[in-house]
């Protein structure tokens, strides 16, 4: 009893002494107010008791954070350490990109966010232990020359030697040899991050963010901390920075922006039919995000394909469409069967699908209306309807490859028996590259779209990763966009302005001349 009284007094004295400090860390730790904010905005996913088991949780992969264990991915502290208050606020303010967690900076007031951060800490007894004081690691600043070829070469060297490729793959697309076996602490399937999509990194996509994640690890996931390697002189701090800078270099300088219209320039000569034809390097690529199909049963909440890059060119008589997307597995692949089982077991759906005995293939579909619409009206984007069918190009990594046909809703697809569609695909290091080719005009005008230049042709995309348990309506979908087959710029475009200027000048001079004559 005496001991306890003493401890209480020490804690009290320390509390008084550190009071100004505590205030600066997290003013007004009002957990009553925090509870109200939490109940209104957070409990739906994270659960009333903070166990990550809210009503929406079964539909999410990765699952919402379970606060009861106080294990946080995005921290400034060492592996296994508690997060600092600033770390908690950062996750609340900015959210976790690539997951269902949004940023709350603009939705809740400063006070509300601080209150809810304080309330989160009440879910775990670890925060109540005053002997644990989370301390941010001492992070160095970025060394100069991060973008130079030499720096990136060093970064790549250590990317290999510290084993990043084991999970993230040779090209960083999350397709390493261990990728199919990864689970989080709760046993849920988890993907190694696709390092070419830094806008989806949970902890942010800058080189500094990446360096911090290398130092701290992402607790609760397979991603370990690499800080010990610095202590053990396995590599220097600068070399670890080079890894971060190399990883950053795998993504575009800016996140892709969605543009509504794919412009397909007209080419002279041959159409590039092969996915890796060098001609594609000169063709502009357009990015389109995909989302889970959650309209028709069975709905799908955990799509693996986050977007497609699309390029198009045409000649006087034919069209080539190239679709590139990252996919961690070349399905069908038996190595991913266990992962499929885990995904299907983890994600709530409308039907209980047993894990397949045989692995499923990857699939991709491009959709157009059956005829180019006159006005703004388009068929239903989700594979049309009986009264307004759509014309589709479908490709599967197993079997026949490319097929064309008419869809009348998600349940009915009538393939053309004699397809005139070309389809070539290659899989390389976590990426599919697929080229569809077809003649612009065909004899069968009733069940094939007739492509024409100078028109906005609606187009939409669907992708399925068989190794992620995707089949049928469990797929990733886009909305309608447009494809425009550009006409070669006619000579009159350049001549007309000159003629117009000459005529204007002549007319002006005529007016002046007439005016002078009158005077």
């Amino acid at each position: 009893m005496i001991e306890r009284a003493l401890v209480v007094r020490i804690v009290f004295v320390l509390g008084i002494a550190s009071f100004p400090f505590l205030v600066s860390r997290l003013p007004a730790q009002d957990t009553t107010a925090g509870k109200q904010v939490y109940g209104k905005w957070c409990a739906g996913c994270h659960g009333d008791n903070g166990a990550g088991d809210g009503e929406a949780a079964p539909y999410m992969l990765p699952r919402p954070r379970d606060f009861t264990g106080a294990i946080y991915q995005i921290r400034s502290t060492g592996s296994g350490e508690l997060p600092t208050d600033a770390d908690l606020l950062r996750a609340i303010d900015q959210g976790l990109p690539g997951t269902a967690m949004p940023g709350w900076e603009t939705r809740l007031s400063d006070r509300e966010r601080r209150d809810v951060a304080a309330y989160l800490k009440t879910f775990s007894s670890f925060f109540a232990d005053t002997t644990i004081r989370p301390q941010a690691l001492q992070f160095s600043g970025a060394p100069g020359g991060g973008g130079s070829a030499d720096a990136l070469r060093i970064g790549r060297q250590f990317y290999d030697s510290i084993g990043c490729r084991k999970c993230h793959g040779d090209r960083g697309r999350g397709d390493g040899p261990s990728a199919a076996t990864l689970k989080d602490d709760a046993g849920m399937p988890i993907f190694a991050a696709d390092l070419t999509e830094n806008w989806r990194f949970n902890g942010g996509g800058t080189a500094e963010d990446i360096y911090h994640r290398l130092r701290t690890g992402l607790d609760g996931t397979p991603m370990p901390s690499f800080s010990d390697l610095l202590d053990q002189k396995f590599l220097t701090d600068e070399q670890l920075w080079r890894v971060a800078q190399y990883v950053r270099s795998l993504s575009p300088a800016e996140p892709p922006v969605v543009r509504d219209v794919i412009h397909a320039p007209q080419r002279q000569g041959q159409l590039p039919r092969a996915p890796d034809d060098s001609a594609w390097a000169a063709v502009e690529a357009y990015w389109f995000p995909l989302v889970g199909q959650v309209i028709r049963k069975s709905r799908w909440f955990a799509p693996a394909v986050s977007g497609v890059w699309v390029q198009a060119v045409h000649t006087r008589d034919s069209l080539a469409l190239r679709i590139v997307w990252d996919d961690r597995s070349q399905s069908p692949d038996t190595a991913w069967l266990a992962h499929v089982g885990r995904v299907l077991g983890a994600v709530a759906s409308d039907d209980s699908i047993p894990a397949p005995a045989q692995p499923w293939p990857d699939q991709l579909a491009v959709q157009f209306p059956l005829t180019i619409p006159q006005g703004m009206e388009r068929p239903y984007f989700l594979m049309g309807s009986a009264s307004a069918p759509v014309y589709q190009w479908r490709w599967s990594s197993a079997g026949a490859g490319a097929a064309e046909g008419v869809a009348r809703g998600v349940d009915r697809f009538d393939p053309r028996p004699a397809s005139s569609l070309g389809g070539q695909a290659v899989y390389e290091a976590g990426q599919w590259r697929l080229v569809f080719t077809r003649a612009l005009a065909t004899p069968d005008t009733s069940s094939q779209l007739q492509f024409r230049t100078g028109r906005a042709i609606p187009v939409a995309f669907f992708a399925l990763d068989g190794s992620n348990g995707e089949r049928g309506t469990r797929m990733a979908v886009s909305t309608w966009y447009f494809l425009a087959l550009d006409e070669p710029t006619p000579a009159r475009v350049f001549i007309s302005p000159v003629v117009a200027m000459a005529l204007t000048l002549a007319f002006g001079m005529l007016v002046v001349w007439r005016a002078r004559r009158r005077v």
Binding site: S79, G80, G163, P177, T181, G220, P222, M223, P224
Partner: protein, 243 residues
């Protein structure tokens, strides 16, 4: 001066402990002991083979294909890798000093050695990598803080400690999904792990009545109540049945 003496004493005990490679049960040689065997009845289980083809450096260390260690039944019909420990019965105010020598777990041939081990609260766990490949070591603790650190090359060592009792902490490597080990963290030295003969020995117990638990990763737990007096030796066997 007295403190210095204690420190020197602890250091000497530590060094001696290291030299003699004492088992945890030997930390307090006076007192009673509980020894026994863990028997296994029923059909001997077959552990699945591990496919190490992705990691040639590990695969090449085996002449016969390695298997998982989920249920290792010894030739004499006993069960290995059972963690036997005093669950309850020690005096509430008893304090036991953690040995200065670390407990070592080694990663070799893409497996953990040992597969099951015990450690005291505050004692160092030395994690070694004897493989020329990347391992990450994730401790999925719930009563302790978890951790997840990496060792990309052979010869690396990492020290970690645990601050609270926890039976068991699962260790795993995510690079090699088959690699796992189990660590029992206790506030006292009264624990043992069965080996190739299925026997265990817990020594130096003060007189009293104890609940002894035997834990196995596949077959769960069994408990027994044992009363020991003075320097007496008690035998307590456990039996796990196939399922």
């Amino acid at each position: 001066m007295r403190r210095l003496g204690i420190i020197a004493g602890v250091a000497v005990v530590g060094v001696l402990g290291g030299l003699l490679a004492v088992r945890p049960g030997d930390a307090a040689p006076q007192g009673a002991s509980v020894t026994g065997r863990v028997r296994f009845t029923g059909t001997k289980p077959t552990n699945p083979r591990i496919d190490m083809s992705e990691e040639a450096a590990c695969k090449n260390k085996y002449t016969t294909p390695p298997t998982a260690e989920t249920a290792v039944v010894n030739a004499n019909g006993t069960l290995a890798n059972v963690f036997v420990y005093v669950k309850t019965g020690l005096p509430a105010d008893a304090k036991y000093q953690a040995p200065a020598t670390p407990v070592v777990i080694d990663q070799e041939g893409c497996r953990y050695h040992p597969h099951v081990l015990g450690i005291m609260v505050g004692q160092n766990l030395e994690i070694r990598n004897s493989d020329p490949v990347l391992h990450n070591i994730k401790a999925k603790a719930t009563k302790n803080r978890p951790f997840n650190v990496s060792q990309p090359s052979a010869g690396m060592k990492t020290m970690r400690t645990f601050s609270a009792p926890e039976v068991m902490v699962a260790l795993e490597c995510n690079v090699h999904g088959w690699m796992n080990a189990f660590l029992g963290v206790l506030p006292h030295p009264f624990y043992a792990v069965t080996g190739t003969d299925g026997s265990f020995s817990i020594k130096g117990l003060p007189a009293g009545t104890y609940t002894i638990e035997a834990w196995h990763e596949k077959y769960g737990t069994q408990t027994a109540t044992v009363t020991v007096t003075g320097t007496g030796a008690k035998t307590q066997d456990f039996t796990f049945a196939a399922r």
